[in-house]
Symmetry: C2
Subunit: 443 residues, 2 copies
Amino acid sequence: MKNILIIGAGRSASACINYCLKNAKERGWFVTVADADPKQAEKRINNHPNGRSAWLDVTKKNDRKDLISRHDIVVSLLPAHLHLLVAKDCIQFQKHLVTASYVSKEMYRLGDEARDASLIFMGEMGLDPGIDHMSAMRLLNQIRDKGGNIKAFRSYAGGLIAPESDDNPWHYKFTWNPRNVVLAGQGTAQYMEEGKYKYTPYSRLFKEHHTIDVPEMGKYEAYANRDSLLYREIYGVEGIPNILRATLRAPGFCDAWNALVQIGLTDGSYPIHDADKITYHEWMNAYLPEGNGSVKERMANFLGEDVDSEVMQKLEWLGLFKKVKINLAQATPALILEHLLLQKWTLKPEDKDMIIMQHEIEYELKGKNYNVVSSMVMKGNGEEDTAMARLVGLPMGIFVKLIIDGKITTTGVNIPVMKEVYDPVLDELEKYGVIFKEQEVEV
Amino acid sequence: MKNILIIGAGRSASACINYCLKNAKERGWFVTVADADPKQAEKRINNHPNGRSAWLDVTKKNDRKDLISRHDIVVSLLPAHLHLLVAKDCIQFQKHLVTASYVSKEMYRLGDEARDASLIFMGEMGLDPGIDHMSAMRLLNQIRDKGGNIKAFRSYAGGLIAPESDDNPWHYKFTWNPRNVVLAGQGTAQYMEEGKYKYTPYSRLFKEHHTIDVPEMGKYEAYANRDSLLYREIYGVEGIPNILRATLRAPGFCDAWNALVQIGLTDGSYPIHDADKITYHEWMNAYLPEGNGSVKERMANFLGEDVDSEVMQKLEWLGLFKKVKINLAQATPALILEHLLLQKWTLKPEDKDMIIMQHEIEYELKGKNYNVVSSMVMKGNGEEDTAMARLVGLPMGIFVKLIIDGKITTTGVNIPVMKEVYDPVLDELEKYGVIFKEQEVEV
């Protein structure tokens, strides 16, 4: 068993492909990289003797089945909704499957079939979801193993820009799917505090951010990330009185993003009239009643901000008050915002992105209360070798090696919360600089 | 042609049924009232010699087709999504159809078939939509006919409680589908002001209300009603620089409803955990971070209100801070709110509801500018004979008579914007007290 098929050769695939190719040489594996763009796949292989590229339109059933049938392990880096196509072929041809995406209900339904065929289907094997699960489970299990009673679990993660590459007033650049950044948080966040359920609707999610200290890095803002309550069962902490998963941003980001939400700019549900003809300035005016004063002044007034406040400076820097044409026919507010941000928040070739992940756990042991803070910071190295791509791709590559080496006994559809997975993956990730530093204090 | 089938015998059907029965006696019509609840249909017929009741589950194809095939005109008072079933049968059996609901895209697609068979399919023939279209078109056409150039059209309507029956701090009771009241305004309102498109997202819709004067009634609050821009084409005022449709509420309502929106209580998209076990007091606490002070104090603080402000008094009157169990398993916030409001905003047997409709038009004629205000106020007479039921039902009844009398030449799928419809319907409505009073001033 040594034939690996990696489907998807986009930017986020590079670290996973490189890891597999490096091991391929030492261990005699063969790695096929398939993509709808064969040039992109070729570029990733870069003439490696153990690699080859393939041209694959994944919706073409016969091509897909043919390719999958000729490999032993499939790594799918496709958009999440396409994994299921691949998964069903993996059942048919009895192949293992690894993805970095959230496991859908439909995917979980393949669990029995996968288990019956002794197949390993591992999802959520990237950064977030992925490293967050593994590092949290290691920490939680260590505390439980010594008899600790866990009172609070709070987990924070953010894909950010390193301070040395931070050159804009938002202190943010895109290192991941821009569309997901624009739409982040829509719905109602749910978490638990002092044994009580808490709900935060989107309209006040960014306003109600709080601040955390990241050792050696300083202060970051955090806003609640979707439904934290789901993780009570996944992490085996059903009765825990405090649980929160949150997203990190640089100080000042959340208030300014809240302004975009309040104006209505993150709404993807209806098109703006004449968006191919009007300017950003006219677009902003469309959210304000007609009246005296400039659009910027009326906007500041509506937002309850001084006209030169930090929030208003961020909006101005985006160009929202410029008399420049939008030039996007039939676009929704969210799409216009995404296009504008793409011009403003793009990584430069030499920019370093930065991932921060931090778990904060409170537990009681033999009548004493402890706080543990476990944090990991990783910086990228330019727009190609981002920390984001590394931390999404390396866990999948390492897990492929564990499968080939016969180290994984858990079959069926799973996420990486079991010791036989998280221990070796986290141990090897340390060699790549993924190091969680722990600080524990008695309180 | 004298056999009328009225499908639906709920409260909103009574005025339409009574109108048809009264005319049936004089004109030798026969009226069948069909409902899933045969007792309800019987009650509406009340032993009238020209009426009979029928028991109909409208989803039972054969029963439905059988009943429709034996009548000449069908009035559908079903929930909006069920009209299409009836409409297709009306095509098959060549029957006319009248409804008070918004005409869906699917319904409009039946237009050619209906026209080819010389059938009259009239939708939006109630109050709003219905009387609003007819009274607006009459007024707009009168101004156009004398050469006026229309500069602004603003139309307001509200289903309210008459001042003499107003005995709660919200100055509101349910006279219409409570679920629609709770969910009203979700999405983004669109209108036009001084030639410019305006967008108001739900999160600030109720905050950004304005106040209008209703002659003889005083001040009412108005919030923008969905997409006003759609009505430019319908009313033939494509180039108009100002157009707005808005919903009326009593003074003080909008700020308090905005508080419910901001807390998150109108969200119907997710269930509240343990909603069968917790109290309203605990539910409110779930929207606030834990902290010092009572739930009411923290809520006031979050909303930026004094703890005894009018908004807070309205929330308190609803019982949102009471330690009373909600007792609704798996309920969404919107559903819990609806159930609570149903206990608080119910019409008493002797309560009078009140409909207000007001159009405000600005136009230019021979170099002079004019403002017209056309307003209609109607009060109901107890919980059965509501102004709402009358104004929804009478236009349909009158229109049925016009069809039978051969007065309608427009076939196909339509809404009542043509003179041959609005003139006779509005004229007859005047006999029932539906009187628009006009005030015109030169400005």
